[in-house]
Structure formats: C-alpha cells, structure tokens
Amino acid sequence: MTEEMIIAGFGGQGVLSMGKIIAYSGIMDNKEVAWFPSYGPEMRGGTANVTVIVSDERISSPVLHQYDSAIILNQQSLDKFEKDVKPGGTLLYDPHGIVHPPSRKDINIYRVLGTKTAVEMENPKVFNMIVLGSFLKIKPILSLENVKKGLEKSLPVRYHKLIPLNLTAMEKGQEIVEAMQTV
C-alpha cells in the first residue's frame, strides 16, 4: 500500500496539522511516512499545502507532481491541484467558498460540508478533523484507533483533553461525506 496525497487550503485551516496527524498515525501503524510542506512565500501569501505519503515500503521521492488523493479546501488550491490527481484517483473538497467546483470526469469526487458543520458544532477549530474523518471514510488507509494514538503523540499533553472532541468531529465527518462522482 502506498498513498500519495496533497492537502491544500488556506493557512489556519489546519492543513499542515492534518498532514501531521496522518503521518503520526501512519507511524503508529508501522508504515513509512513523509510530510513535505510548502514553506515561504506561498505560505505567507495565505495558502498552505502539504504532501503526505504513507506506505508499506521505503518512500522514494517525497516530492510529487501527481497524487492518489487530494484534499482541497479552497478555490486557489482546487485550481492548482485538480489536474494533478492521478486518473482514477480521489478528490475530496469542501464547497465553502468554491465558485468553480471540480470538473474532471476521470476521478472520484467527494464533498464534505466541513466549514458549515464545524460552525454548527460551534467549534471552527475541529474543521480539519471533520475533513480528515471524511477522508478516512473514503480511503480507510488508517484505523481510527491509530489516529487516536497519533493524536496523543502529536499533541502536547496539555491538549490531550481535546482528543475526544476531535474524535467526535472525525466521526461526524465520516457521516456527512457525500459521493459526487465515482469512476
């Protein structure tokens, strides 16, 4: 199993930390992992993205130009990365702020109303965990048990009290994800 993914959105949406949780959870699952962020001017201009690879084998290139999956959280990122999803690959997006939804016919497209749900849950900070829950529903590459362990590992102890809330958000994400197109 090798899953090569890109997570992209605005700075502050929790893009990099979502990637970090996936990577940590991968380690808990005895997988090889790589996490490669955008850094510098891109990030300072407001958009952030991270490439995450989870694999059973030694990871060759941490830098990719084509992805098995893309998690897209704003229009700029959709414009930039929709074309880089491998044919037959998967794109998950949050429609909040999206004017031109994905249009490719050769990939699986899923939608999650993450922003809306986070507001309804009265906690915008769990937005990324809702989206992560949705992603793991479509692509069960990691067990929830290992994600829980990954959270324990990646969060400082003083935030451990927030883990149950994050897990609830992930469960919510698993419930609300919608398939828009499957190939």
Binding site: A23, V33, W35, F36, P37, Y39, G40, S60, S61, V63
Partner: protein, 362 residues
Amino acid sequence: MGELRLMKGNEVLAEAAIRCGCDGYFGYPITPQSEVMETLMERQPWNETGMVVLQAESEVAAINMVYGAAGTGKKVMTSSSSPGVSLMLEGISYIAGAELPCLIVNVQRGGPGLGTIQPSQADYFQAVKGGGHGDYKLIVLAPSSVQEMNDFVDLAFELAFKYRNPAMILTDGALGQMMEKVELSDYKKRWTENEIAEKWGSWATTGKPSSRNRNIITSLELDSCKMEMNNRRFQEKYRQMEVEEQRYEMFSCDDAEYILIAFGTSARVCQKATEIARNKGIAVGLLRPITLFPFPAKIIGELAPKVKGFLTVEMNAGQMVEDVKQAVYEAGCTRRVEFYGRMGGIIPSPGEVVEAIERNFL
C-alpha cells in the same frame, strides 16, 4: 531500536548535535534552516549536557566563534543556508588552513544572491571545490533522508576529528523542512577536559603543561617554504580521504544499462524515476554519492565499462556532472555522461527524469 519520532530534518540536526556530545553551536537564522537553532534554543541543552548555543550577530561572527572554540579541541558546529554560508567562507578557509575539526551545515536554497528560499543544490562547487580562498577541501556529506540528517552529524564529527579538517553536511531546504520517521541516536557524553587533553593535546590549545611546547593555532606562515610544506601535508590528507572515505549507495545497478547519479533530494527523486523506468522496461539504476568530497570516483570507474551511459541529475545548472565526467575519463572510458537539472528552487519530478533518460539515450 531507539525511539521512533516524526521530525523535520532541521529539528533532527539539532537533536543529533545534542545527542552526539556537541559542545557548542554558533549560528545566525536564515530560511530554510532556522529550525536548527530554534530547536536548540527550545531544548536548552545547556541545562542537560552543558552544550552552549549562541546566536551570533552575523554569520561572519558565528564561523569565527566556531574557529576559536574548535581550536580548543571542542566539538563545535554552525549551520546556515546558501547566502549565509557564502559569508562564512573566509572563516572556513582559515579553519581548513589551521587544520581544525568542526561541522558546518548548509541547508541550501536557490541562488545566486539572495535568490529564493526554495531547495537547491547549487552550492555543490562551493562545498567540494573549496569555496573560500586557497587550496583546501572540506569533507562533504550529502544526506538524502531525515534519518541521515541524524546519522551524519555524528559521522561528520568523527571524520572531522580523524582528519583534523572541517566537515560539511550539504543538504537542502526540502530535507530541512520535510518530516520523516527517524530513529534518534543514543546519547554520547561530551568529552571532559581531561579527555580532550588526552585525545587532542598534541594540537589543541587546552592550556600548556610544562611537559610540552606551546600549541599554536594559526593559518599564517610567512615563510613560503614552510607554507608549501603545510600545503603538501594538506594535500596528502585529502588524498588519504580519497582512498579511505568514498561513500555511496546503489539501487538496481547490477543489471543496469543506464545509471542515474544524484545526491540528496535529487537522489530521492531519481529513486522514484528508477522505479518508473524499470516498469517501462528500461534497465535503469541509481548511484547516490554520500560523500561529495571525497567524490566516489572509484565506483563510477568500475561501473563505466558495464553501462551504456550516465545521467547526472541535480538541482543546479550542472556541477557534479563535471566530477562524473572526470571519473569516467580517468577510468579510461568513453561512456556518455549527460545532465538533467532544474534551477532556482525547483525540484525535478521523477517523470521529467525518465523523459530525460529517454531523450538522451533511447
């Protein structure tokens, strides 16, 4: 097995320094390597191992602090990124001339000038051909994973002290910024004053006992005959490194018709390119130099008669390719050596590399 952690390459450099018994770090922040000093400051090793961490007022000051501390036989280091390393070159030349061991880390970014903060390998010439003035060489190690960012800190110090020569870890922004699984090294104790006097008392300025003459640390020798003798000694040392320290790693080279040669991040890209090419039925292998100086010329000479051609892949306009050509030439071979590279902070994609193989050789 030690504890597995998920860490950035830069953070690992800092952690490895603490764990290998480093005595001091002197640096000045610059993207994309600022996490090295940030991590050190956060870890506060002065409370734990007694390691000194100091933010100097500039790169020039930092390298001269390294020079001074190295003269006392301490294990000391600095890190910077390309423009910062350029500022340090005068000091590095002095350290090489005074024959002092130390570690310099260059987390490269694209140049020339201030250039970009994205990853690059355009400082290859600067690292392996001298950089500063005078006939000197650094021992240059090129990690290609976060794990090697850990492992090479201790190795660099070991080689630096073995040869009384500055060592450099030449890496780039991608390896500095990315996180991978890493098994950290066990703690080594810092050398005590007695141990330093015992090991390095023949040259280090540790305080003169009555039993020996003064140790003098200097790169200055106004008597040309003596200066030439010094140079001869340096050159002998460099030749000895070439005999004893050439390091590399090979992937799928046994039956390869074409061999990719790449280091650091480029080598990771080429590993993927090798897999893609093999799936297309092209017999491609990868040779990854680990020491850039001494350059692994011997293995290239051995491979040359067995293959149809080499493709060197770098994140620059073609620098290491000259050493590859030289190695093939010295082996008495006429194999084609081609080059593919991207510049200015762009990392080539595995697909581009495969296309370059097809364009050049098929």
